[in-house]
């Protein structure tokens, strides 16, 4: 059974667009993009910069370190042939964002 961790309020995320949260030692970047919440490993797979400090442009997350561009849903880095880990996200009716570290359900 998937274990969910409450990590943020969707209202706060809607305002800030991005934030970093830590779940059991794993730092996860949350993004609010056009009404959907996405969760990716915060540490860029390229050179360990923080994705949560990056830009959200035209639906993609751009790492500030070296401009790698990630699809927030799949974690795929455009033109690099690599993927950032993505995590399942759930938003409850009362606006609580939860993530799971269980990546088994992720198809990326």
């Amino acid at each position: 059974m998937t274990q969910w961790h409450d990590v943020a309020k969707v209202r706060d995320l809607e305002l800030r667009k991005k934030t970093a949260v830590t779940v059991e030692g794993t730092t996860i970047a949350l993004f609010w993009i056009k009404g959907t919440v996405y969760a990716l490993a915060d540490t860029c797979i390229h050179e360990q910069r923080q994705l949560s400090k990056g830009a959200i442009l035209f639906g993609k997350v751009v790492c500030p370190g070296h401009q790698w561009k990630f699809d927030p849903a799949t974690g795929e880095a455009e033109g690099q042939g690599r993927c950032a880990p993505v995590f399942p996200v759930r938003v409850s009716e009362d606006g609580i964002v939860s993530v799971s570290l269980d990546r088994a359900g992720v198809t990326a």
Partner: protein, 409 residues
């Protein structure tokens, strides 16, 4: 019938990405990478950065053996391609063998421009993995390291040498470092970084040569002698065009030269393409042929070239972008600034985080940033769209550039 075949000449980033792209695009013919170094293809950016200080070899590999085997990519090291036969496209190698090819990519890269008066023991040029290993061994605590040339590579080596405990002096011919790349105003903003770290940056100084006194080197300059244990010369690069010249393929004139290619990476010879440092490529955004020596460009250009080798018609229109990590800071530059462009600065050039947008004829042409890579992402979009945001938005640090950019475009 013989199997279809692609030959990628050069063992660097552009070739490696082209090889990977060919397979990703489903090409199932032979892929042969020919490199004249003894090493398999590796990444160069770390060579002037973390590889100099930490020596971590594991992160360098571009086409690891197991991966290459699995993907049926043949990597030939220590062999140089000499000439392409105009008749059948076959590539002649310096071991006397010939490799048949349906298409050839020339990605032979560039080499450091050498100054004849600066050579011999204790004098380093940095391009290859072997160069980096030799330099690293020389960067010991207390060593007096003199950098000739205040460019980005010079700055990165200065940073590594400083981190390793060396005493660093940087000699720059111009009035400020990086003036040619980013202009005098931003060069002056940049120079605070090495100076704050304790690097002795000397400007308006012409290096004349060197003499040796015992085991020591003395660099002679227009402003007197500079003693050194280690001299590192970083004064630009020269494209490796020999194979093109010997094959009768058009190259640009002058020392900057390079193999001339169109927007589809095609050279003047049928079925021969060029990419990366060596390619003087027609670029719509810039409006002319340019030769660019950046890692990211080599990757993207190599990928585009390989798709065109497979028969697609993909024009290369990416904005040229590079970064430099030094003294704990991240510098990024994107685009090509025009001589007459004005600067619109977000942040304070004397502060520790800023972005300078170059604006000309109603559009952003380039941007240079200190520890503000997210702004460079915006600049990249504006450059591609050939537009700008209102100055008051660009300079307003409370304005969300991402939102403004999405709304504007």
């Amino acid at each position: 019938m013989t199997r279809a075949s692609m030959v990628l000449v050069g063992g660097g980033q552009a070739s490696a990405v082209a090889a990977r792209t060919l397979r990703r695009q489903g090409y199932d013919g032979r892929v042969v990478v020919v490199g004249d170094e003894r090493h398999r293809p590796y990444q160069r950016p770390p060579l002037s950065k973390e590889f100099l200080t930490a020596g971590d070899e594991s992160a360098l590999e571009l086409l690891p053996e197991a991966w290459a085997e699995e993907n049926d990519i043949q990597v030939r090291t220590g062999v140089r391609a000499l000439k392409i036969s105009a008749a059948d496209g076959a590539v002649l190698l310096d071991d006397g063998t010939t490799v048949g090819a349906d298409a050839v990519l020339l990605a032979t890269g560039s080499r450091p421009r050498r100054l004849p008066m600066l050579d011999g023991e204790g004098v380093h040029y940095l391009r290859t993995r072997d160069d980096a290993v030799a330099l690293r061994e020389a960067l010991v605590p207390g060593a007096r390291v003199v950098l000739v040339g205040g460019g980005f590579i010079g700055g990165e080596v200065a940073s590594a040498a400083h981190e390793l405990g060396a005493r660093v002096t940087m000699l720059e011919a111009g009035p400020v470092p990086l003036a040619q790349a980013v202009g005098a105003e931003l060069g002056a903003a940049y120079v605070r970084i090495p100076r704050a770290a304790g690097v002795d940056v000397r400007v308006d100084i012409m290096v004349e040569g060197l003499r040796r006194e015992g085991g020591r080197i003395v660099v002679t300059t227009s402003r007197g002698d500079v003693p050194a244990d280690v001299v590192v010369v970083g004064v630009g690069a020269v494209p490796n065009v020999d194979i093109a010249v010997d094959s009768g393929i058009d190259v640009g004139s002058g020392p900057g030269g390079g193999i001339l290619v169109d927007e589809l990476c095609r050279t003047s010879m049928d079925r021969v393409f060029a990419a990366g440092d060596v390619a003087r490529h027609l670029h719509r955004g810039v409006g002319e042929h340019v030769r660019v020596e950046h890692f990211d460009h080599a990757s993207r250009h190599g990928a585009t070239a390989s798709r065109n080798m497979l028969g697609e018609s993909v024009a290369y229109e990416e904005s040229h972008w590079f970064w430099s990590d030094q003294f704990g800071h991240n510098l990024q530059y994107v685009g090509h600034a025009g001589r007459e462009d004005r600067l619109v600065v977000r942040g304070d050039l004397e502060g520790d985080q800023w972005t300078a947008f170059f604006v000309g004829e109603g559009r952003v042409t380039a941007a240079f940033a200190l520890d503000a890579g997210e702004d460079i992402a915006v600049a990249r979009e504006l450059i591609s769209a050939r537009t700008t945001l209102p100055d008051e938005v660009l300079v307003d640090r409370d304005a969300d550039l991402f939102e403004a950019c999405e709304e504007w475009l």
